[in-house]
Symmetry: C3
Subunit: 140 residues, 3 copies
């Protein structure tokens, strides 16, 4: 993983083969002390584990896809959960027939590269537990 802050205060983050995406983003956000932000990116990964939130069961159904995929869309945000940066990311992936799959990102591993741009937001955005869903939601 490499990163660089631009002159106007945004961040370029390049994840490299073998990097685990959620783990790497949370680490670098903590290192950079970013309390809120918008994150977007494109690249290529393998064996992604995706989630779908089941409202009745109040938990994520997880599914791991096998193989190599293009990251067609990676969108999410960074907030604070119990004093640590927490990224909430949804992805859409593409296979070699241009078919698409997607979900809440649990984890995935970079194969070729993952080019991320983070736009920090000047705000102490926090997540707090929501009783109805059992999820940690934005506390505005």
């Amino acid at each position: 993983m490499k990163h660089k802050q631009t002159e106007d205060g945004n961040f370029l983050i390049k994840l490299e083969p073998g990097d685990r995406v959620i783990n790497a983003i949370n680490s670098i956000m903590e290192y950079l002390n970013i309390k809120a932000g918008l994150i977007t990116g494109i690249g290529a990964v393998n064996n992604p584990t995706l989630g779908y939130f089941d409202i009745n069961q109040k938990k994520y159904i997880e599914k791991t896809l096998t193989g190599n995929f293009e990251v067609l869309s990676l969108n999410g945000n960074i907030a604070q959960k119990e004093e640590k940066p927490f990224c909430h990311i949804h992805v859409i992936l593409g296979d070699n027939e241009m078919k698409t799959f997607g979900g809440h990102l649990i984890e995935m591993e970079v194969t070729v590269t993952l080019e991320l741009i983070v736009i920090p937001l000047k705000e102490n955005l926090r997540r707090t537990p929501d009783e109805t869903t059992s999820l940690w939601l934005w506390n505005l």
Copy 2:
């Protein structure tokens, strides 16, 4: 719906269960007097109505999907249409098998949460009618 302006002038908008997305975004943009902007978000919704523009018929084909979906990607922009804010949004949704669907967003209802970030643009961006397509397009 809750919203907060960050110190650097962007907006965090949290839509809550039962909120209708297009309706809520147009309302809050009017309330905040935002004349142009970029909007992005992730969350979960149900029973979305999506559109596909048929060039020959010069109108949107609409389709309503039944059930609960993750909002994997919500991308769009805000402009002025006849002196009122108008959001143009495309979405990609995911089901419990990580399959994806998408279209021009007509409307959908939030189930769990929808976390939106709006980056306002300092520009009086306007939409005006386009004769060829019968759509209201950006007037640059």
Copy 3:
């Protein structure tokens, strides 16, 4: 193609029927002398050629889809490749049944409109050749 810089330094770019997307974006980025940036957009296109990077063969598998599609998501970045702006873009497209397809964008032609927003980044972001993959990757 029309473009306008907003007061806060971002760019609105409207591609018009017949415009070829990659070609148009590279041209306008060169004209505007943008060395790094984030690009996002929505619109409608036809006959897109998409790519999937085959790691073993170290080259893109290409596929051209026939027909008209909504551009549900267009995400990417602009960097310098051999002193010229180079855009790296991934797209997700939707058909008249709200089914989705996607890949690395090789090229596609605008039908109705393509509404792009470019957020420039103050950074001389460069791509240099990567031996392992034979791709030009971010050099941070």
